[in-house]
């Protein structure tokens, strides 16, 4: 009896020690991930302000009475569904909650400038699961959330754009030389982000691959480095930024899909869709689209500003 008790006690103490160690370790790993370039240096903030100051503003004639854009202008703020935790796309600065940086965030600000003449964005962070519902019940006006245009989704909501085209790529541990691309993933354990296009795209390419999904990108990277999977499939730009920040990880091969990102709108609002598509053309011609890319995704990818995809070029847009 005494023996069993003392071993129980030891078990409890051991549990506490393990838990404390775990807390300490996770604190370390949180530190090391903070060097992901988030594009909110002081210099870049002024760059972004300059971009917004020079951005096009819609003509009064475009705000037809009773239209969605008129309602938004009367309200005085644009309600956008966008993430707050996506590096390079839409990331909130925890020390300054008003500073949300990234490609999606800059485009949302540009759209608000187009409507009001000055940036005025209210962010509602959507879960990927609820974007359609948020648009359908009018909680948000538009969604900028790496929202891949698909025909299934286009039956629920409307898409303006595409405003950006990206693709999924494969990342592996830096010392892994066996996997050189999507073709080598048959029968392997593949890590993906929950609710990302990879959940559907990987089984299409490699039906025998076993998927493990994690909620956030840092979790997925950690899982890959700890050996919970052989490879991590994610958006190419996001992987490139991970690889730039962490030398234990490398991107192999070229993107194997084309993901057209659209701007989610309420279903069937053709007037508002035209309004946004016109705005996209204006910022593409005006150079703000390219600037938004340069200040966000362009900070980790060594290439020229990409050519924006043709508006309406994708089924569902």
């Amino acid at each position: 009896m005494f023996a069993s008790r003392s071993s129980r006690r030891r078990g409890a103490v051991l549990g506490a020690v393990v838990a404390v160690t775990a807390l300490a370790l996770s604190a370390c790993s949180a530190d090391s991930s903070s060097n992901v370039p988030s594009g909110n240096d002081a210099a870049e903030v002024t760059d972004v302000q300059a971009m917004l100051a020079g951005a096009p503003v819609a003509d009064d004639a475009l705000f037809t009475p009773g239209s969605t854009m008129e309602k938004i202008r009367d309200r005085g703020t644009l309600i956008v569904g966008e993430a707050l935790d996506a590096p390079l796309l839409s990331q909130q600065d925890p020390t300054n909650p008003d500073d949300v940086a990234g490609f999606d965030a800059y485009l949302a600000q540009l759209l608000s400038v187009y409507i009001f003449g000055e940036p005025s964005v209210e962010i509602v962070p959507p879960a990927s699961e609820t974007r359609e519902a948020l648009l359908q019940n009018g909680t948000v006006d538009v969604v900028f959330n790496t929202y891949t245009i698909t025909e299934e989704r286009a039956e629920q909501i409307s898409f303006a754009g595409p405003y950006f085209s990206s693709g999924l790529a494969v990342a592996v541990k830096a010392d892994n030389d066996d996997i050189t691309g999507i073709d080598d993933l048959g029968g392997k354990t593949v890590i993906v982000g929950s609710n990302t296009p990879a959940v559907l795209a990987v089984p299409e390419e490699q039906p025998t691959a076993e998927l493990v999904d994690f909620a956030t990108d840092p979790q997925a990277v950690q899982a890959l480095l700890q050996g919970r999977g052989d490879a991590y499939v994610q958006d190419y730009t996001l992987l490139a930024s991970n690889a730039a920040a962490n030398s234990d990880l490398k991107v192999v091969g070229q993107p194997f899909t084309a993901e057209p990102y659209g701007i989610g709108l309420g279903f069937g609002d053709a007037e508002f869709k035209d309004f946004i598509n016109n705005w996209l053309l204006e910022i593409q011609d005006g150079g703000q689209w390219g600037q938004a890319w340069t200040y966000s995704l362009g900070t980790v990818v060594e290439s020229e500003i990409p050519t924006p995809p043709t508006i309406g070029s994708v089924p569902g847009s």
């Binding site: 006690r9 775990a22 370790l25 989704r153 609710n195 959940v199 559907l200 919970r228």
Partner: protein, 214 residues
């Protein structure tokens, strides 16, 4: 509706995983929780202290934090387990703290006189706990334990975050294809409701059977 019929196999599989987690972690946390309570009322000071700290730790740290620590921090310490067992172990030790609190309140319903009587009759500490105190205290807390088990069933959904393909994770994936969040998540909610109802009704039946009428 065809969403559910087209994916029936996948959904049943996921519901099976959820039920497995509820069942294994439920039994495990009941056993562990009673042991922690015994330690907490034992006459050995260090055991009481350890049990107190155990309960306080697990009641005051969010389950999600524990799950993430177990999945991402323990491998750095050289301990890597598959995801489903990790989730079940974390759920077990977490819910055991709540079970221990419920059982402790049950122990307070056993009058001191009974314990004094059992000692007077020559029962050892272990015998009086096993034969007098624990049976009566468990009977007094059937319904509260049922509530802890319902909370456990709901908490299994958090395992979706760490990559366990249970019901919540599966419906997330299905929604990604069909983009019908309201229907899909209402369906999942109904399944969780049925699980909770089943646990609640079972607890009610057991309570009526074993209750001590005073």
């Amino acid at each position: 509706m065809e969403i559910f019929t087209e994916n029936a196999g996948l959904l049943l599989d996921a519901i099976g995983t959820t039920l497995l987690m509820v069942f294994v972690a439920g039994i495990g946390s009941l056993i562990l929780g009673v042991l922690v309570t015994v330690a907490r009322v034992s006459p050995i000071p260090i055991l009481r202290r350890a049990a107190f700290l155990y309960v306080q730790f697990f009641i005051n740290v969010p389950l999600l934090a524990l799950l993430l620590l177990a999945v991402f921090a323990l491998p750095d310490a050289g301990l890597i387990l598959p995801l489903l067992p990790t989730a079940i172990i974390v759920l077990t030790v977490y819910e055991a703290a709540y079970v221990a609190e419920a059982v402790r309140s049950g122990i307070n319903t056993v009058s001191v006189g009974q314990i004094e009587a059992s000692r007077a009759l020559g029962l050892t500490l272990w015998q009086s706990l096993r034969l007098i105190v624990i049976p009566q205290s468990l009977r007094a807390v059937v319904q509260p334990l049922g509530n802890v088990m319902i909370a456990l069933a709901m908490n299994t959904a958090l395992a979706a975050v760490i990559g366990v393909v249970e019901l919540t994770s599966r419906v997330n994936k299905i929604n990604l294809v069909y983009a019908q969040p309201i229907e899909i998540f209402t369906g999942a909610g109904l399944v969780y409701m049925l699980i909770a109802l089943a646990i609640g009704l079972t607890a009610g039946r057991i309570e009526r059977k074993v209750a001590i009428l005073r």
